[in-house]
């Protein structure tokens, strides 16, 4: 499991933009120097799936997150994802979300766009599983 991305206060948005090309290129930083959470991606051997972009902002007391998954292979991939929502102390503020299936078409990108289900969420962790 690779730690790919950190998350977020509005301030850390800049860090995300800075890291996006790194992730898209397939690099796998062990950790990211932002303090309020992270996203993880479980890869298969092909490492076809990557997180090519990740953005977050707080608006109307809700955390809005957009992640772009990139499929570098020619075949369609079924991935599963869910978010974990935490407060400033890193404590979970929401029950476990269901795993959600998502198809990322071959040589294509797929965007996940969500809003936090709770006003208490100040950071998130996106977990993506690519078990193909």
């Amino acid at each position: 499991m690779q730690v790919l991305f950190g998350a977020f206060k509005p301030l850390s948005l800049a860090v995300c933009f800075a890291l996006a090309p790194l992730v898209a290129a397939g690099a796998s930083p062990a950790s990211v120097p932002v303090s309020h959470g992270y996203a993880t991606l479980t890869q298969d051997n092909s490492a076809a799936i990557g997180i090519s972009d990740l953005r977050a902002t707080r608006q109307d007391r809700l955390l809005r997150v957009q992640a772009e998954l990139n499929n570098a292979s020619a075949t369609n991939r079924q991935v599963y994802y869910r978010f974990e929502w935490m407060d400033q102390q890193g404590l979970a503020v929401w029950d476990d979300e269901p795993w959600k299936p998502l198809i990322v078409y071959g040589n294509n990108k797929q965007t996940i766009s969500v809003s936090s289900p709770s006003f208490k969420a100040t950071s998130f962790r996106l977990v993506v599983q690519n078990p193909n």
Partner: protein
Amino acid sequence: MGSNLGRDYRTSLLAGVMLLALAGCQTTSPTTGTSGVSYGDAKAVETVTTDLGSTDIQMISEKMTQGLIQTPEIQTLIKKRQLLMASPVKNKTSEYFDTRMITDTILTQLQKNGVKYVIEGEDMQNQTDELMRQNQSGLYSKSKTVKMGKMQGAKYRLDGSISSIVKKTSDLKDVYYKMNLRLIEIETGIVEWSDEKEIRKSARR
């Protein structure tokens, strides 16, 4: 002879230790029964059949909750402590399932964010029964009885439907589900918000 005794002693000791270890395994596991029943992850992606399943209900509820709490009407409702209610969601699919599973989950998730809602339908009978019992049965102390005529009406209600299109060939079944949910201001009948969740499930036979 002596070495045989020593070997026997060591074998017995080893067997004893193994038995103790096994006994230890049995007693530390907090389970009972041998029927092969096991617990699974309630949040796992369920792909047993193409029928509407737990993952579908969870994904629909989640999307609707996330959409609803972004609306200004719900945020104002929370601030002003106004009330919400959910009308029964119409099941227009060919399957039987209890659509209250969806609205109950949405209401529960909204309540965790401060939304107050009032009961309706099946729950209302229990509510009126209890009010009647306390006020008309003569069994309760007057000072400890709740008053009649204090129930509050909702400002908004949720209403919606779930539909499906099923296509079958000799080797493929494809089901498309669409859930629609609307937030309606009760006084005016105006639909203030609506959203849809689409799900496609396919199975090869």
